[in-house]
Amino acid sequence: MGGALGRALRSPRVLLALAMVTCIACCAVFAGTLAPHDPGDQNLLSILTPPAWADGGDPSYPLGTDSLGRDVLSRLIYGARTAMLVALFASLGAMVIGAFLAHIAGYFGGTVDWLIGRAVDVWMSFPPVILSLILMVGLGIGLSKVILAIVLVDWTRFCRVLRAEVLIVTRHDYVAAARLLGFTHWQTIVREIVPATTPLLITLVSLEMAIAVVVEAILSFVGLGVGADQPAWGQMIADARQYVYQSPWNLLLPILAIFLTVAAFNLLGDGLRRTLDVRLAETGR
């Protein structure tokens, strides 16, 4: 494991992605000190101000203001907080549920595997965005509801991919050997199988974070995400849509923020997959 992690930290792909994720995470954590204004403060005297470098820009609003006179930069920074909270907790939640069921299904096989497999099949036959919209309607809006909706939709992604990996690992003789030495099922899964599936798990989590950011943006865009008092990138896009001709920056900036965040997580996932996956790493040597 140490070798694989060291390898991952030497890969330029992973390093670049980590730098980007760290930047975004810093915005999220230190939003209070980084943002020049309160994201909810309105200045009705200067609405739809262009960015500071454009004609008619105001230096106190570096990226301009929106249709309600709120500072775009501050809203972007606070939006990062929402996006990061959702990315972190939704992907971890989906991972815990998905990985737990995947290990049980792949290790025990038989009826348990059949039941979990069919549940995943049925779950996955719903279009994921529609399913999360329906869930949001049922659950009501709010940050924790968004996280819950994403977890409930996306655990299947973990379950299906990991189950295949668990099946492969379980077929190794060392798993049978552990049983013969007197390991309980629980000990066998935790000590022999989980270490082998962890690299894939880490990769999947970072890819899931990208998906969670997109889904959160979609839900906020249609007004079924976090509450209106909490800035979110999807919300900003929805607000800016009507004034796209007067002020294209208001639309482009949150899209750019989403793009960079998703790209960073995808790059991280891809880099980790290349370096942590023993099979890929060995053929590349």
Partner: protein, 613 residues
């Protein structure tokens, strides 16, 4: 003077290792006359398969031919344009691969496969191609050849696949055939007929054959000439029977002495220390490559690589101590079987296992009996062999004994305790008394655990939580038992060689001092010199620790060497059992006789009945 079918002159194949070029084959020369069989003999890593790959120019990544020449009928394969070489391959030069099952395209019928090949050979008419395919398959002694054309590879047995491949190889009337361990992946009883087929086809077509094998006794029976290879060098070459009757190189001699005999008196095996140097180690090795393991090595051996000398007019040997080779002898140890107790320790009565196949929903479920009926017992300290072909139910018995599969019927008892039904109680009993040594150490050792953690894994099972001081102490004991230094404890399985992994595998099973070991083909994939080390290790461990073993194997000479009693399985039943000497001397069941006759004789001058017509 006739033109040689194939001649290698000072062939050097280099491998890129850490930025340097290390020769994987060095200065290899041989000459193969038309219509003769040349055996390339050696252990894995000797570079023998590399020769076949060099001819096909299919060297693995990082390997390249750096100098020398390979003359096929006088023209250099390495110099000719690639189009000309491709025109020869598959036509004038054909290959018989090692793994027949994976060498046939699974989505093509045998007929389509032949058709494609014959089109390439220039046969335009479909009916002529079909007739030729049927004729070749019939010549390969495959029954119902016409029917076979419509079948897919997965419908054929391994032996049949290999016959199809042999028929394909000879259908172009090649002048050179390269056969790379053509029987290694097959069941022992199919070895003689496949070898006889290759020999017959070779005689009929007047083909020259390069026969790559690890089996000295087999080479003596089949080949006209042999070249023994060690660490990329031809150490000895000459007429097959001469080389193997009077080996001049100590390596050839040691290999012979490391191979257990099938017919001669039981004797201790000669154990070469260590293993063949890897390419990485070769780089730093001066002098004769065999010197570190050689019983005859003197200081001069380590100074320079020995020249090839003539031991006899047509017998070349690369050794400065060749004159002393015949003095190397196996240690005269006492091989009397350890006294086995009379009272049975492990008793198996009427054990059965059947599987339900078919999905049960649409097709009616059928049952297939993997083990129809098996009764036997093993006494304390007794080594009992279980022999039979693949699919005869050997491994199923092993799995039921250790509790990986529940039996469908019958009774297993150990020391009076009933172990038949898997439960928490029986698996706890088994964990301390009955252990399995897995066949493939690559799969049986967790690549993420260090050796110390693997061998003492039993100490963290269940509610036991031994501290690391206790585990390290036990690790040191166990590593010493299996002949490894204590610093192996911190290594990962990926850093061990095949033989070392198998030792760790055995050490783990011995951790809680079980009374019975079930060993499933534990020396099968290993080289002769490593196999000898492990066989001696098992015998020594029995004397020191005292345990009984069910030794599953397909290699009868190994069984004869190690075990006192043998069970012969055929089609899910134990068809014969008794003391090894008696069963092998007077086999009663036809299958036992077939198994015994498929082992080539020790004496290179003796005729192998199975190969004679």
């Amino acid at each position: 003077m006739t033109v040689l079918a194939l001649q290698a002159k000072e062939l050097v194949v280099g491998a890129h290792i850490d930025g340097a070029m290390v020769p994987a084959i060095r200065a290899l020369s041989f000459a193969l006359e038309p219509g003769k069989i040349l055996g390339l003999v050696g252990e894995s890593g000797a570079g023998k398969s590399m020769v076949g790959r060099a001819i096909a120019q299919l060297l693995p990544a990082g390997f390249a031919i750096t100098s020398g020449s390979l003359l096929f009928e006088g023209s250099d394969l390495l110099q000719m344009p690639s189009a000309a070489r491709r025109a020869l391959l598959g036509r004038a030069i054909a290959f018989i691969p090692q793994a027949p099952m994976t060498s046939l395209n699974p989505v093509q019928t045998v007929g389509a496969l032949f058709d494609e090949h014959l089109v390439r050979l220039g046969e335009a008419r479909r009916s002529a191609r079909r007739d030729r395919a049927v004729a070749m398959l019939t010549a390969a002694r495959l029954p119902r050849a016409a029917e076979l054309l419509t079948q897919y590879p997965h419908q054929l047995s391994g032996g049949m696949c290999q016959r199809v491949l042999i028929a394909l190889a000879f259908s172009s009337n090649p002048r050179l055939v390269i056969a790379d361990e053509p029987t290694t992946a097959l069941d022992v009883t199919t070895h003689p007929p496949i070898l006889r087929l290759i020999a017959d086809m070779q005689r009929e077509h007047g083909t020259a054959v390069i026969f790559i094998t690890h089996d000295l006794r087999l080479a003596a029976q089949l080949c006209d000439q042999v070249t023994v290879m060690y660490a990329g060098r031809a150490v000895e070459s000459g007429p097959a029977r001469t080389v193997l009757a009077t080996p001049a190189h100590p390596y050839t001699r040691c290999l012979q002495l490391a191979n257990p005999s099938m017919r001669a008196e039981r004797r201790a095996l000669y154990v070469m220390p260590d293993q063949m140097p890897s390419l990485r180690q070769l780089r730093d090795l001066a002098g004769c490559h065999f010197a570190p393991r050689c019983p005859l090595a003197i200081d001069d051996c380590r100074r320079g690589e020995p020249e090839s000398l003539a031991a006899a007019p047509d017998h070349q040997v690369a050794c400065i101590r060749a004159r002393a080779t015949q003095t190397v002898a196996a240690p005269g140890g006492d091989l009397a079987a350890a006294g086995a107790a009379e009272r049975p320790l492990l008793q198996v009565e009427d054990l059965r296992k059947h599987y339900d196949v078919g999905d049960g929903l649409f097709a009616g479920a059928r049952t297939v009996a993997a083990v129809k009926q098996a009764s036997f017992s093993i006494a304390a300290n007794e080594f009992v062999a279980l022999v039979g072909e693949s699919g005869s139910g050997k491994s199923t018995i092993a799995k039921m004994l250790v509790g990986l599969e529940p039996p469908s019927g019958g009774k297993i008892s150990l020391d009076g305790e009933d172990l038949t039904a898997p439960s928490a109680r029986t698996s706890a009993l088994r964990a301390t008394r009955l252990q399995l040594v897995f066949q493939d150490p690559q799969s049986a050792l967790n690549p993420r655990r260090r050796v110390a953690s693997i061998v003492t894994q039993a100490m963290e099972a269940g509610s036991r939580h031994a501290d690391w001081d206790a585990r390290w102490a036990r690790t040191r004991e166990l590593l010493a038992e299996v002949g490894l230094a204590a610093d192996f404890g911190t290594r990962l399985p990926g850093q061990l060689s095949g033989g070392q992994r198998q030792r760790i595998n055995i050490a783990r099973a011995l951790c809680s001092l079980p009374k019975v070991l079930v060993a499933d083909e534990i020396v099968s994939g290993l080289d002769v010199s490593i196999q000898a080390q492990l066989l001696n290790l098992l015998a020594r461990l029995r004397a020191e620790l005292g345990f009984a073993m069910l030794f599953i194997s397909h290699d009868l000479s190994v069984v004869r060497h190690l075990c006192s009693r043998v069970l012969v399985m055929y089609g899910g039943e134990i068809v014969e059992q008794g003391p090894v000497e008696k069963v092998f001397a007077e086999p009663q069941h036809p299958h036992t006789r077939a198994l015994i006759s498929s082992v080539p004789p020790d004496d290179p001058a003796a005729k192998w009945a199975a190969l004679a017509r």
